[in-house]
């Protein structure tokens, strides 16, 4: 901070402190327009103002202790005495008296009140009074005023009427109605004045113009009078410098002297006489009625009393008026609020209600804009900041109060520090969180209102250096000094904020109810459409919920079953089973699976069930839920399918086996016919016989392969661990011997592993691949076959490569299908079963078979077998089938 400014600030603070310290309620002097006498209750003089000594022609010593009866007639004393009685201690009492001096007799207004153990008697000689009451009928004056007030239609009219009336009654040149704001700055809201006077209407006066102790005095003593600002203070005598004697409290004195700063202030304003009357609202100082005159001006006590009564009537009426207007406004709001509440309660969703009633919602807080977020989707109405700004604001509120309370501000940028609101034109917001998540919000916005405040003079006090340190010297100029206030909106009404808070609570409840209801709908749908049997039983064994399919499956009928003990509803078998399940789950406290076979109403059920505990909000088990799947149908179908498959395999096996017999005899006897009747038949017959033999032979191979294929299906035995290398060597020897590998060079290029496989299967697959490799040879080069095996983690991968004719890519998969042949019979013999058999063998061993080939260069066949014993794994799952004894 600027050092100079800092210095100024410090000086100002000291000066203000000094001003606040000035004990204005116990000055040692009074104003000169009357006499002040402090007496005991017997009207013996304790103290008197110097001017009374002058009037009486006596010294202080002569006067102190003397009875006032020497100056005031006995009957007047008596009536004054009466005024002090009857309780009302501090109330001012007034009486016209004759004051007898040595040289003159004065008609005076005498006021009397008690202050501690003393009576304070103030006497204003009427000849010093400029304004005497026009008539004594205060009652009529007041009556007329209050009747007129009844007809007032707006506050402005009311205010203007008050200042007008006060000026009429008191005769001051200017009467102002001055209203305090929340910072105790005052605004002149009404004024009635003579044309010659300067107008202060619409101007503001800083709080420091009427410091706190002055305001405190104003709220005790409603009227203050300074008939002449240029007065010379009159001391009270004897001048008690005695520390022990308590100073006499002159708070309720009319004549008491005033602060020099205040007098200077008035002089700077060209005011020569002043009278202020407090306007109270609900026990608080609301404002002042300030009467000014540009010349010394003294109004009589009865006039002042009339003015004060008027002001009091106005105060009372204002309270009433404001309450009435605010009540009607309030009623209107309440009505709107109730409409919204009703809509929120009756609409399908809170969102729908708020969207259709967006205008009313906005009016609830007299907002310019409304932004609502439902599940993070923002809907804006009226004048609102953009979505990113509302999101930032939501995040800020969430962080600042955990999203639990309604936040309101009429100066958003300042309160939140969010840059986005600096230039947005939005200055105020009420932010109501409507769910515990950060997804639902209700936000009200108000535009920025640029206010121009016209100060009566630049509100910086002049500070002058005196011996007592820095003291205030009031400003010399009261020229209009305009200040522009930005970044604010009209302040929010506390009641409105409360109502929005209530609305947000309601919406929160509705949203929660909705999600609850939705969850219930979902659960109902799940229960209704599930093919599982679902039911819930509480810990007392009462059936809480059950779905229709369960009711039907268990044959529970149409009667009332919900809310009854399951043991009275369920058939015996189910009931005892359920009891077992409940006991098990209650004991272990967690989800448990069951597999039960039982009969209900002559129907066999095979249920796979899961039973789990349901917890209440206190995390205690309150019920158990059972979900069962009836697999009896499935199980049966599975068994049937298995049996039917077995049967089919058996049929295939038997068929192909039995076909062999007649075929074999056809073949042998034809052969016999050929050899024994060779010479008796002609060449044509010999040819026919050869065709027959050829056909029979092909059929023999076909049946052999089919038999092998179907036999593969039948085997379920565990697999032996074989040395594939040994098996391969034996096989190669056999194949060489039988001529299958004629003129072929075969190399085994890697080590052969141990594998879980039947030797005949390994032989079968290898034999097929090897004979194919030799069969589909390229006529132009000698057959070269390579056999290898690679470790592929969980599998062994065997490969047989050749340099034969190769296979076109489009056939690479087709060749493994049954009866799929690529060549005419006269090119390459074959049944079309070999590779299908290989495929089946590989699959039976958890592996697969595939081929790679470059046509014209050769093919490689790969097959894999799983390293573990497949059959053993299968055998554990499937019950072993009895072996066929057909041979």
């Amino acid at each position: 901070m600027n050092q100079l400014l800092q210095h100024h600030e410090a000086k100002l603070q000291q000066a203000l402190d000094n001003c606040a310290k000035e004990p204005i309620h116990i000055p040692g002097s009074i104003q000169p327009h009357g006499y002040l006498i402090v007496a005991d209750y017997d009207f013996h003089i304790v103290k008197a103002s110097a001017n009374f000594l002058e009037f009486s022609g006596q010294s202080t010593q002569q006067l102190v202790g003397k009875s006032l009866q020497r100056f005031i007639p006995a009957d007047s004393i008596a009536s004054l005495k009466n005024l002090t009685g009857n309780g009302a201690l501090n109330a001012l009492r007034y009486q016209t008296i004759l004051l007898n001096g040595p040289t003159e007799q004065l008609t005076c207004d005498a006021m009397i009140h008690r202050s501690g153990q003393y009576l304070i008697i103030e006497i204003e000689p009427q000849h010093l009074i400029d304004k005497l009451p026009q008539h004594q009928d205060f009652y009529r004056e007041l009556m007329g005023f209050s009747l007129a007030l009844q007809k007032v239609e707006s506050e402005d009219v009311l205010f203007n009427y008050v200042v007008h009336e006060l000026r009429r009654i008191t005769g001051f040149a200017r009467v102002k109605l001055y209203k305090f704001d929340e910072h105790w700055h005052g605004d002149v809201i009404a004024e009635d004045k003579d044309a010659r006077m300067t107008s202060y209407l619409g101007l503001s006066f800083p709080a420091s113009d009427i410091p706190e102790q002055a305001r405190e005095l104003y709220s005790k003593n409603y009227l203050r009078l300074i008939p002449n600002v240029d007065f010379t203070p009159v001391p009270m005598l004897p001048d008690d410098l005695d520390e022990k004697s308590k100073p006499i409290d002159l708070s309720f004195s009319i004549l008491r002297s005033v602060s020099m700063v205040h007098l200077q202030y008035l002089k700077n304003m060209n005011v020569r006489a002043s009278m202020s009357i407090s306007v109270m609202q609900n026990g608080q100082l609301w404002g002042l009625i300030v009467c000014h005159h540009d010349a010394p001006y003294h109004v009589a006590y009865p006039v002042r009393m009339a003015a004060e009564l008027l002001a009091n009537t106005f105060s009372a009426f204002l309270t009433n008026y404001q309450q009435l207007t605010s009540n009607s406004k309030e009623n209107q709001r309440e009505k709107v609020f109730n409409e919204i509440v009703q809509a929120v309660n009756s609409a399908a969703t809170a969102r729908e209600a708020l969207v259709t009633h967006s205008n009313q919602v906005m009016n609830l807080a007299s907002a310019d804009g409304l932004a609502m977020s439902f599940d993070d989707e923002w809907i804006n109405f009226g004048f609102t900041p953009d979505e990113s700004a509302t999101r930032q604001l939501a995040a800020w509120v969430q962080q600042s109060n955990n999203g639990e309370r309604v936040f309101s501000s009429h100066s958003l940028a300042k309160t939140t520090g969010l840059k986005t609101f600096r230039e947005s034109g939005v200055a105020g917001a009420i932010v109501a969180p409507v769910s515990h998540q950060t997804k639902n919000w209700l936000m009200f916005f108000r535009r920025q209102v640029t206010m121009e405040r016209n100060w009566a003079g630049e509100p910086v006090k002049e500070i002058s250096s005196t011996r007592a340190g820095y003291t205030l010297s009031p400003r010399a100029s009261f020229q209009r000094w305009a200040e522009v206030v930005t970044g604010h909106c009209k302040p929010w009404n506390t009641l409105d904020v409360e109502r929005i808070s209530e609305l947000s609570r309601l919406i929160r409840t509705r949203l929660y109810e909705n999600s609850l209801r939705q969850a219930n709908y979902n659960l109902d749908a799940v229960l209704r459409h599930s093919s599982s049997l679902i039911y819930i039983i509480d810990i007392n064994g009462i059936l809480v919920q059950i779905n229709q399919i369960a009711v039907e499956t268990f044959g529970l009928g149409d009667g009332e079953i919900i809310g009854r003990p399951f043991e009275k509803i369920f058939p015996e078998s189910l009931s005892s089973l359920t009891r077992e399940h409940i006991d098990t789950v209650m004991q272990c406290g967690k989800s448990t699976s069951f597999d039960d076979h039982f009969t209900v109403n002559d129907t066999e059920l095979h249920l796979i069930s899961v039973v789990f505990p349901l917890f209440d909000t206190k995390n205690a088990v309150y019920a158990l839920c059972n979900i069962s799947t009836d697999i009896s149908g499935l199980h049966k179908a599975q068994q049937e399918l298995k049996a039917s498959n077995k049967e089919l395999e058996r049929v295939a096996f038997v068929a192909s086996h039995d076909l062999q017999e007649p075929l074999r005899l056809i073949a042998t006897f034809t052969d016999l016919l050929k050899s024994e009747y060779k010479n008796k038949l002609d060449s044509q017959a010999g040819e026919y016989i050869d065709f027959t033999l050829d056909a029979a032979n092909r059929m023999r191979v076909l049946i052999h392969d089919l038999l092998e294929y179907s036999r593969l299906e039948q085997s379920d035995e565990t697999l032996p661990l074989i040395e594939t290398g040994d098996e391969l060597n034996k096989l190669l020897a056999e194949l060489h011997l039988s001529g299958h590998l004629e003129n072929a060079s075969v190399s085994v290029t890697s080590e052969m592993p141990e594998a879980y496989m039947k030797a005949e299967h390994f032989n079968s697959i290898m034999q097929n691949l090897l004979s194919n490799a030799a069969k589909y040879r390229d006529a132009d080069r000698p057959v070269d076959i390579a056999i290898a095996c690679r470790d592929q983690g969980a599998y062994w991968q065997f490969s047989v490569s050749d340099n034969g004719i190769g296979i076109k890519p489009e056939y690479l998969e087709k060749i493994f299908e049954m009866f799929q042949r690529l060549h005419r019979k006269n090119e390459f013999a074959g049944t079309g079963i070999g590779l299908a058999l290989c495929k089946k063998i590989a699959e039976r061993h958890g592996g697969k078979i595939w081929a790679e080939s470059i046509p014209g260069e050769g093919s490689t066949f790969h097959f894999t077998v799983i390293k573990t014993d497949m059959a053993q794994q299968n055998a554990e799952k499937i019950s072993p089938a009895t072996e066929s004894s057909v041979a």
Binding site: F669, D671, E734
Partner: protein
Amino acid sequence: MSPSDSSECVTILHVEDNPADVYLIKRGLRGSAVSLDIVNLVDGEETMEYLCRCASGELPLPDMVLLDINLPKVNGHDLLVWMRSVQVLQSIPVFMLTSSSSRQDREKMFRNGGQAFFTKPYTLEERSTIVRSIENFLSGLPLDQTAIQNANA
């Protein structure tokens, strides 16, 4: 296992219910050096009865049994097991001649004490192999395993 003296007549018990097969073997063995008496039985039960009579001495023990597997009433495997359980019959050589070519059947037969396993022939050549094996065996020559394998190929 010693075959019978070549000078005597050799009895072969051919258990087979298919006459065509019986004929084929009989015909194949027709030109043998040894004189053969081939007795044909058509079911397992009948064979058991026959062999019981042999065991009791009522009938002479056959020199060899040619056994089919798929027989009415009692199958070949069971018959073999039974024969090996009867002391007098234990030493009679048994050849299986069946339409099965399965390794399972062959292994089972050897396990049960059979001497040779042949798959029934499709061609005259196959028949010759079988007939030659029988003749060799009866002449006291050792059984040629390769010939048996080939016969099954």
